[in-house]
Symmetry: C2
Subunit: 195 residues, 2 copies
C-alpha cells in the first residue's frame, strides 16, 4: 500500500510578499514628472524676466529734457538676484531629473537618493522663495510707489516691463509650489518604506 501522505511539492514557489504601499519606481516616476515641470517653469521665469526691457520717452529731471530711457532687470539688484536664483534652480532641475531617472533605472540606494533629494530640494526652495520675495517687493514698490519715502511708481510708464515682472513672479510662485510638492513626495516615499 502506497503512502497517502502528500509529498511537498518542490516546484511551487512561496507566495509573493505583499506589495509595498508605494512602489519605488512609481515614486520616482512622479518625481521625474515634477522635475520636468520644474525645469519648464524656471526656464520660463528666467526668459520672461530677461526679455522685459522697455524703452520709453521720459523726462529726465536733471537735464529737463525728454529722451528715451530704458527699464531693464539689470537696474535692480533684487531682479538680478531673481534671475541668478532661478537659473540655479533650472540647472538643478536638469541634474536632479537625471539623478531621479538613474535611481529609477538602477533600483538600488533608493532611500539614500530620497534623503539627498529632500536636502537639496529644501535648499533650492529657500533660494527660489527668497528671490521671489525680493523681486516681488521691488515690483510692488514699482507698481504702487511709497509716499512715505518718496519712491514714485514706474509701472504707469513702463507697463510692458511691469507685465513681464508680474508674469515671471507668477511662474516662480509655481516653481516654489512644485519644490514643496517634491519635498512632500520624497518624505512620504521615505515614510511609506517604514510602514
Amino acid at each position: 500500500m502506497e503512502s497517502t501522505v502528500p509529498e511537498p511539492e518542490k516546484g511551487v514557489a512561496p507566495p509573493p510578499p505583499p506589495p509595498p504601499p508605494t512602489s519605488p519606481a512609481g515614486c520616482f516616476l512622479y518625481d521625474i514628472i515634477l522635475r520636468v515641470l520644474l525645469f519648464a517653469t524656471t526656464l520660463v521665469a528666467v526668459l520672461v524676466m530677461v526679455t522685459s526691457k522697455q524703452t520709453e520717452m521720459t523726462l529726465v529731471p536733471q537735464l529737463q529734457i525728454t529722451m528715451p530711457v530704458d527699464a531693464k532687470f539689470t537696474q535692480s539688484p533684487a531682479l538680478v538676484y531673481f534671475v541668478a536664483a532661478l537659473s540655479v534652480a533650472c540647472l538643478y532641475s536638469i541634474i536632479s531629473a537625471l539623478a531621479s531617472f538613474l535611481a529609477m533605472s538602477i533600483r538600488s540606494h533608493h532611500t539614500k537618493t530620497l534623503l539627498h533629494f529632500i536636502f537639496m530640494d529644501t535648499l533650492i526652495l529657500a533660494i527660489v522663495v527668497a528671490a521671489t520675495g525680493s523681486a516681488g517687493a521691488v515690483a510692488y514698490v514699482g507698481l504702487k510707489g511709497n509716499s512715505h519715502t518718496g519712491w514714485t511708481k514706474i509701472c504707469n510708464v513702463y507697463d510692458t516691463f511691469c507685465r513681464h515682472l508680474a508674469g515671471s513672479l507668477a511662474v516662480s510662485l509655481a516653481t516654489a509650489i512644485l519644490l514643496i510638492m517634491l519635498i512632500m513626495l520624497s518624505s512620504h516615499s521615505l515614510y511609506s518604506k517604514i510602514r
Copy 2:
C-alpha cells in the same frame, strides 16, 4: 546507536537586534532644542522690527518746511508682511515644540509625527524666507537707493531705523537656517529608521 545530530538548543535566545543608529527620544530632544531656538529667534526678529520707529526733522518737499517725520515699519507693506510672517513662525514654534515634547513622552506614532513635521516646517520655511527676501529688498533700496528709478536712500537720515531692520533681517536669516536644520533632522530620523 544514538543519533549524532546535535539537537537545537531550545533555551538559547536569538542574538539581540542591532540598536538603531538614532534613538527616537534623542532625535526629539534635538528637535525640541532647535524649536526653542526657533521661538527665540522669531520673537527677537519681531520685537526688533516693531521697535524700529525713529523720528527725525526732515524737509517736506510739498510744504517746503522742516518738520518731525516718522519712519516705522507700518509704512512699507513688505515690512508689515515680515512682521506677520515671523509672528506666525513664532506661534508655530510654540505649538510644534509642545507636539515634539508630547511625541517624546508618549513614544508612539514617531514616524507619522516626523512626516508631519517635515510638511509643516517646509511651509513655514517658505513663508519666513519669502518675508526675509521682501524685507531685505526694501531695506536694500532704503540703504543704497536706485538712481534708475529715482528712489532716494533714506538710511543716511533714519540710521537707527535701518540698524533695527538689519538686525531683524540677520536674526530672521538665522530662523531660516534653523528651519532647514529641522527639516534635515526630521528626514534623517525617518531615513535612519529604515536602515
